[in-house]
């Protein structure tokens, strides 16, 4: 259980960010106390010392002091800048995705969290991860906004319909930690909770082995690609190839008809399946039909995983560093 930390009323520190966020928190508490005590003391001193002794007395006029005003503008400014910089550093750590992380897909849905591991295991409202390894979550939702929040790891990110957002962490000690949905999502918002189970690597491997793994995302994507959705008829090469060749495309720059270009990443692949006409690669016709409404979020994840698998080492070139997701346009 939680709440065994060294300060009561203080959540457990269980990720590599936790101490950084807590350090920032203590710094801010220190600043607040250092700021508040003199002010409160001054107020108390003044209200006692300068209380009215004669009704309607007219005290000495004091209009202000340029020196004082300047000093007490500059000092708060400098302090606020130290807070800004500290926060910025921690934020960069939290939202710059590592390249060597183990990837897990997460789909939010009113009102549950569905996770799928790279090896195919699926879980609902539980997420098992090994301790001491970087884990990267690629998240989306089937309906409304949600937010994947793990207080013990001091991190969270909104999950936004229609795009991918990312969250990463490295758990530092085994245990069972609260998972909340922190963005209001309707009727059972407060029931959209679960647990993060952090296990030793060996236990995690056992857990993986003990759970019958269904198709991995890559296998599922391959099946969709070749059989169920018929993507292969245009994209697999050979005489019928009318679409872009997908081998080795992940992480490469592609140019669009009508100008513009992008590095191929999860979001681009996702968008090309749902809105194929919006960013057509140079040299191709805008003839691909949209798959919007025909594929579920999980199938989309599988397709993206499969296309990534066509590029060796794709996992180490996971697109844009900006996060939780690039600014949408």
């Amino acid at each position: 259980m939680q709440n065994s930390s060294w300060i009561p009323f203080f959540p457990e520190q269980a990720s590599t960010f936790a101490w950084q966020v807590d350090l920032l928190y203590f710094y801010l508490i220190a600043v607040s106390v250092a700021f508040a005590i003199p002010i409160v003391a001054a107020i108390f001193f003044f209200i006692v010392k300068y209380r009215e002794v004669e009704k309607f007395a007219t005290p000495e006029e004091i209009h202000g002091s340029m020196v004082l005003e300047t000093v007490w503008s500059i000092i708060p400014f400098i302090i606020s800048m130290t807070i800004f910089i500290g926060g910025a550093i921690v934020y960069f750590n939290q939202y710059t995705m590592p390249n060597d992380a183990m990837e897990i897909y997460v789909v939010g849905k009113q009102w549950m969290w569905k996770a799928q591991h790279g090896t195919g295991q699926r879980e609902i409202n539980e997420l098992h991860v090994p301790v001491g390894r970087k884990i990267k979550l690629t998240m989306t939702t089937e309906d409304v906004l949600h937010d994947f929040s793990i207080p013990a790891f001091r991190t969270k990110a909104d999950v936004v319909p229609g795009r991918y957002t990312y969250l990463w962490f490295e758990a530092t000690k085994p245990g069972r930690y609260h998972l909340y949905c922190a963005e209001y999502c309707g009727l059972n918002h407060s029931g959209m909770v679960g647990w993060i189970n952090v296990m030793e690597q060996r236990d995690f491997d056992n857990w993986l082995a003990g759970n019958t793994s269904s198709q991995t995302p890559v296998e599922m994507g391959k099946d969709l690609f070749e059989n169920k959705l018929g993507c292969a008829s245009c994209h697999a090469g050979g005489a019928n190839q009318r679409g872009a060749k997908l081998e080795g495309i992940f992480g490469k720059e592609v140019k669009f008809v009508g100008g513009g270009s992008t590095i191929v990443n999860d979001d681009y692949l996702r968008n090309s399946i749902l809105n194929p006409a919006s960013q057509v690669v140079e040299g191709f016709q805008p003839i691909m039909p949209t798959f919007k409404g025909q594929v579920t979020e999980e199938q989309l994840n599988a397709l993206v995983a499969y296309i990534k698998s066509l590029t060796p080492n794709a996992a180490t070139t996971t697109g844009a560093p900006a996060a939780p997701a690039p600014m949408g346009n």
């Binding site: 801010l28 005290p59 991190t155 900006a322």
Partner: protein, 559 residues
């Protein structure tokens, strides 16, 4: 009846006033008198405040236990949504400008009325129409989107009365715009001879800054609500990604108004506090120009920080950093105000009447609210804190601790001017203390709950968080009692209160140089201002000796 001497000494009797100028319903409903309109706002805004308060009570009672047992989650979601909508749009935004601003701006600058009296009455009617429509929607079944109306939940998934409530808020927004417009025109054109910009009371400066935000920001929320309605009805794909829209666009539009709206709520409160601290210390406020300009600075910077509500929404790292930086910059003018208020008391002659007690309470609460704002402005920390009870605690400290306490300070301060009667100082002080203690007991534990990770808008929560929630609910009961008391003793004062006299606190402001309650035309003759704001002393025409001798009803017992 009192003698002419007593009247000149500042303890006037029954002169014709705006209250005696007609007693029919028509004489009120068709009035163009800013004072009568203010009184009608006072009554209506109070009704909405107590309705919002009842919802708050249900929220706290539900959260007394970890399970969702008192209310079903569907009901709970509606209750916190309606609490937010009523409190923000129908209480916090209009309270000080529409009641105290309306009543006092013309009096403070020596004008007969606002520049556009018919527009003023229109804005009250618009407020009523928006309010009645919203109440109708709530009675019909309510709305469960949260007051933020985030899409695509509000456009596609919520089956509640989103359209009707949205329309109510849309209409209500015009009331705000018209009031802001009226204040700006009035401050520019209606000042009495000698009332230069730098002789204006700081209450007026604060309302000037607030009015700028009202007329520039409110149209944006109106457009946002309109787009939401269009999306719900026609499904054109503005915000819903399933049909090509962008849910994050809604958040940008919404917070572009709703962050500045926080300053619509807090700036007028700061204006009240500047008046009360200066006047009850009987000293010119320390650094008048800095306070005046910091109001304008807060209003301007307030438009640049909306993105700090969206640090975890998926906006880019770099946007997050810019918004964090700008948020830190806004902290500086707020800090300046706190320093100046404190310095104003230095070497003053401080009396502890009810308004001053509220004002000192305000300083404490605003200090906590402002400092915790730094926690939330610091991006790395906010990732952990946002959407938790830390945020709930913070904005209640700023908006309730700041605005509501300032509003109560203002109501008590100007009550003798508005009604011509004094209320019970004893009960006033008790209520000020209960509100302060109850407020802190309610909201301080929520900072800790938030750091523990308790998400906001949860009807049920893990059991280990119960103790702090019990503290919070207990505090809310004390706060509720503290807030009910003024209703009783202020109403009682209307029939049994002592006569206040024209200038019960012996202050130099123009509003204290006319009768209490003021006549319909405000001043018997056009005042000419020859003194600076907050200049005390006999040379400014204050007959202090006679006032002391008259030993009026407001003489404080301390000394």
């Amino acid at each position: 009846m009192q003698t002419q001497d007593a009247i000149s000494a500042g303890y006037g009797g029954d002169k014709p006033s705006y209250l005696t100028n007609g007693s029919t319903l028509k004489s009120w409903l068709l009035t163009k008198d800013h004072k009568r309109i203010a009184i009608m706002y006072l009554i209506s805004v109070s009704v909405f405040f107590f309705m919002g308060g009842i919802y708050a009570a249900f929220i706290r009672l539900e959260l007394l236990t970890p399970a969702s047992d008192l209310l079903q989650t569907a009901t709970y979601n509606k209750v916190f949504t309606q609490h937010g909508i009523l409190m923000i749009f129908f209480f916090l935004i209009p309270a000080i400008p529409a009641i105290l601003g309306n009543f006092l701006l013309p009096l403070m600058i020596g004008a007969k009325d606002l520049a556009l009296p018919r527009i003023n009455l229109l804005s009250l009617y618009i407020y009523w129409v928006g309010g009645i429509l919203t109440l109708y929607a709530l009675m019909q079944g309510g709305v469960d989107t949260g007051w933020t109306f985030y899409t695509p939940y509000s456009t596609t998934f919520s089956n509640s009365f989103v359209m009707a409530v949205g329309l109510g808020i849309f209409i209500n927004g015009f009331s705000s715009i018209l009031t802001g417009l009226n204040f700006i025109v009035t401050i520019h054109t209606m000042r009495a001879p000698g009332m230069t910009w730098f002789r204006l009371p700081l209450f007026v400066w604060a309302h000037y800054a607030t009015s700028l935000v009202m007329i520039l920001g409110t149209p944006v929320v109106a457009i946002t609500v309109l787009l939401l309605a269009i999306e719900r009805v026609t499904r054109v794909g503005i915000f819903d990604p399933a049909i090509g829209g962008d849910p994050i666009l809604f958040q940008h539009l919404f917070w572009f108004y709703s962050h500045p709206a926080v300053y619509i709520m807090i700036l007028p409160g700061m204006g009240v506090i500047s008046e009360v601290i200066s006047n009850f210390s009987r000293k010119k406020i320390f650094g008048y120009e800095f306070i005046a300009f910091s109001s304008i600075a807060i209003a301007v910077f307030g438009f640049l920080v909306w993105g700090h509500h969206m640090f975890v929404s998926g906006q880019s790292i770099y946007a997050g950093l810019v918004f964090s930086f700008l948020t830190m910059v806004v902290a500086v003018p707020s800090a300046i105000k706190v320093f100046n208020w404190t310095a104003t008391m230095y070497k003053g002659s401080i009396s502890y009447d009810t308004p001053m007690l509220y004002a000192i309470g305000f300083l404490g609460l605003f200090l906590v609210g402002g400092l915790t704002g730094l926690f939330l402005g610091s991006v790395g920390l906010t990732v952990h804190l946002t959407d938790t009870y830390f945020v709930v605690a913070h904005f209640h400290y700023v908006m309730v601790g700041g605005q509501v306490i300032a509003y109560l300070a203002g109501i008590h301060y100007w009550w003798p001017k508005m009604t011509g009667r004094m209320y019970s100082e004893f009960w006033g002080k008790i209520s000020a203390m209960l509100v302060f203690v109850g407020f802190n007991l309610t909201f301080f534990p929520q900072f800790i709950l938030g750091y523990q990770g308790m998400p906001r808008r949860y009807a049920a929560y893990p059991e280990e968080l119960q103790v702090l929630n019990i503290f919070s609910t207990a505090g809310a009961s004390v706060l509720g009692i503290g807030l009910m008391m003024p209703v009783v003793y202020l109403t009682h004062s209307l029939v049994a209160g002592k006569r206040a006299g024209d200038n019960p606190w012996m202050l130099p402001g123009l509003e204290w140089r006319t009768a209490s309650p003021p006549p319909t035309e405000n001043f018997e003759e056009m005042p000419v201002v020859t003194w600076e704001a907050y200049e005390f002393g006999e040379e400014n025409g204050l007959d202090i000796e006679s006032a002391r001798k008259a030993s009026g009803p407001s003489v404080p017992v301390q000394a």
